[in-house]
């Protein structure tokens, strides 16, 4: 905390450098905004958190560690121009599949859950990677992007904590149904 304050003070005292942050702040905002601007992304991210909470101990730890990495890998592919067929369909299907898992309260082995989530994460990351703005600051955009994704994830897990109460379980499953329905809508839009 001390150092934070110290740094804040120093930053505050040096307006000479202030011009640096102009477009950088823009990059951060853009990065933060991008993952939450599409409802399809948001639903899937939250669903991952919900499912993790349902799956319990090892999964609720493993998924948040693995997910950002896999997603970044997808974005990396997008940035490098490596094509991925049917991204929009993949994203919509991810909503359906994850929603269905939450709805069914499915408890597959950990490796299966991780592989499923990882596969969808690549689709989501790829979509983000190809939609990146050209002129933003790379570092801040990336920070914002990963932070926003992680927070969506955290929201899902936090909501998923209601899992310990019987009523909460029903609520969670209902939420899964909502996500799956949303996924169906997006699939319809992607295909039609």
């Amino acid at each position: 905390m001390g150092s934070l304050l110290f740094l804040a003070v120093i930053v505050g005292t040096l307006p000479a450098q202030a011009h640096v942050e102009g477009d950088m702040a823009g990059g951060l905002t853009a990065g933060l905004w991008h993952p939450i601007s599409g409802l399809d992304h948001v639903l899937a991210m939250v669903a991952v958190g919900l499912w993790g909470a349902q799956l319990g101990k090892p999964a609720v730890w493993t998924l948040p560690v693995a997910f950002p990495l896999v997603m970044a890998f997808g974005a990396f592919m997008g940035l490098m121009g490596i094509g991925l067929p049917g991204v929009e369909i993949g994203i919509a299907v991810s909503g359906i599949a994850l929603g269905a898992m939450v709805l069914a309260e499915a408890k597959p082995p950990l490796w299966f859950a991780a592989a499923l989530v990882g596969l969808f994460a690549i689709f989501h990351g790829h979509a983000h990677g190809t939609e990146l703005p050209e002129d933003a600051s790379g570092v801040l955009y990336s920070i914002g992007f990963v932070t926003a994704t992680g927070c969506l994830h955290g929201c899902g897990i936090a909501i998923g904590l209601v899992h310990r109460w019987p009523v909460g379980r029903i609520v969670l499953r209902a939420a899964g149904a909502v996500v799956a329905t949303g996924g169906c809508l997006f699939l319809w839009r992607a295909v039609a």
Binding site: G2, S3, L5, F6, V9, G12, T13, P15, A16
Partner: protein, 385 residues
């Protein structure tokens, strides 16, 4: 190390305190011994007949590097002639005057409204570490309201300019121009920009290595958190008191003897730290807050001199004073928290320092205090000569 630690929870008796301070002690000299903040200075005074008397005091490169440059432009006090010309400044602006070839002034220049007409060519005087240019403008058409004063080249030279304008009707406008905000427009109802005072307060304490070293010395002899709080509060109250008293003009301390006594206060803490480490006791170690209060009174006068370099806006002295003081406290609290954070970190990381490293902070405080004491004594003595 048997002597130094009596109570394991004690803050600065924990070896980490010394370790950390060792490093800080090493780093302090890096910030240089410069304590005063020296912006360039632009003074514009409107005379009764509308003429503008202008002085422009700009530090020379010699001042910036603090070294004796091979050839100073002129001996102190000597004047050299300046001719009018169509030359350009380093930044490409048309130059008001040809800069004397030997001039080593920082590459910045003031900017005036274009309709200002020069009445008399400038006199240039080479001072110890700066050049003083003085000239006058004809009474400007339309008076001073709406006139824009600025300075160019601040971003390159990373320096500030203090602008001080006195109008014929007695209004005083003081503003610190920075690389970010490098011009000032006079308006009929001049709103004094006060944010600069907060910034100045923070800068003053962050660059005031002697003040920080004194605080560090205090941190090294307080036994626990409660005493730490008492001591820091006592120091804060004391220096705020004298800062206010001095700024409001009720009391005054001559600068040079003041600097000597401030150095003495740091020197004083050195032996106390050593004594504290040995497990001995003294009045200072039993009641550090008393010492903090007493010397805090001195340091407050020092802060006041820092505030005076900026000048004070007419009619808003209390607010400027408050902001400056708050700035100083922000810097000081930040420093204390940083030190505490590092001490805690070293304890968690179980860093063990060797004996000399642990002894270093006490010696650093003591010897730097001694160095400054002698140095400032010499400066004071040479002033009398």
């Amino acid at each position: 190390m048997p002597g130094g630690t009596r109570d394991p929870r004690a803050l600065c008796r924990s070896r980490a305190g010394f370790r950390l301070a060792g490093l800080l002690g090493c780093l302090f000299p890096l910030t240089g011994f410069a304590h005063e903040i020296r912006p360039a200075y632009l003074d514009v005074r409107e005379q009764a007949d509308g003429r503008l008397e202008v002085s422009w005091k700009v530090p020379t490169l010699a001042a910036a590097f603090g070294e004796q440059l091979p050839s100073l432009p002129a001996a102190a006090g000597q004047q050299y002639p300046v001719a009018r010309s169509g030359e350009h400044e380093a930044c490409g602006c048309p130059s008001l005057w040809a800069r004397p070839r030997s001039s080593l002034a920082m590459p910045i220049h003031p900017v005036f409204p274009e309709h200002f007409k020069v009445l008399s060519p400038p006199r240039v005087e080479a001072l110890e570490d700066s050049e003083l240019w003085t000239w006058s403008f004809e009474p400007p058409v339309g008076g001073l309201d709406g006139a824009e004063f600025g300075a160019h080249g601040l971003d390159v030279a990373t320096m500030d300019v203090l602008v001080h304008v006195v109008t014929a009707d007695g209004r005083v406008v003081t503003r610190l121009l920075t690389p970010a905000v490098s011009s000032l427009t006079l308006t009929a109802d001049q709103r004094v920009q006060l944010g600069g005072y907060l910034r100045l307060g923070i800068a003053h304490i962050l660059l005031g290595v002697d003040h920080l070293l004194f605080v560090l010395g205090l941190l090294l002899i307080v036994p626990d958190r409660w005493m730490l709080l008492k001591t820091v509060t006592a120091f804060t109250v004391a220096h705020s008191l004298t800062l206010a008293v001095a700024t409001l003009g009720y009391a005054e301390a001559p600068l040079e003897p003041l600097n000597v006594t401030i150095a003495l206060s740091i020197l004083f803490l050195g032996p106390e730290i050593v004594r504290f480490r040995r497990g001995e006791t003294s009045l200072t170690i039993r009641h550090p807050w008393v010492v903090a209060f007493a010397f805090g009174l001195l340091h407050g006068f020092g802060f006041a001199s820092g505030l005076r370099t900026l000048g004070l806006p007419a009619g808003e002295i209390p607010l400027a004073l408050l902001l400056f003081n708050v700035g100083v406290e922000i810097g000081q609290v930040g420093f204390v928290l940083l030190v505490l954070g590092l001490v805690t970190s070293f304890r968690v990381l179980e860093v063990r320092w060797s004996r000399p490293a642990r002894a270093l902070p006490g010696f650093a405080v003591g010897s730097l205090g001694a160095f400054w004491f002698v140095q400032r004594l010499v400066i004071m003595a040479s002033g009398w000569r």
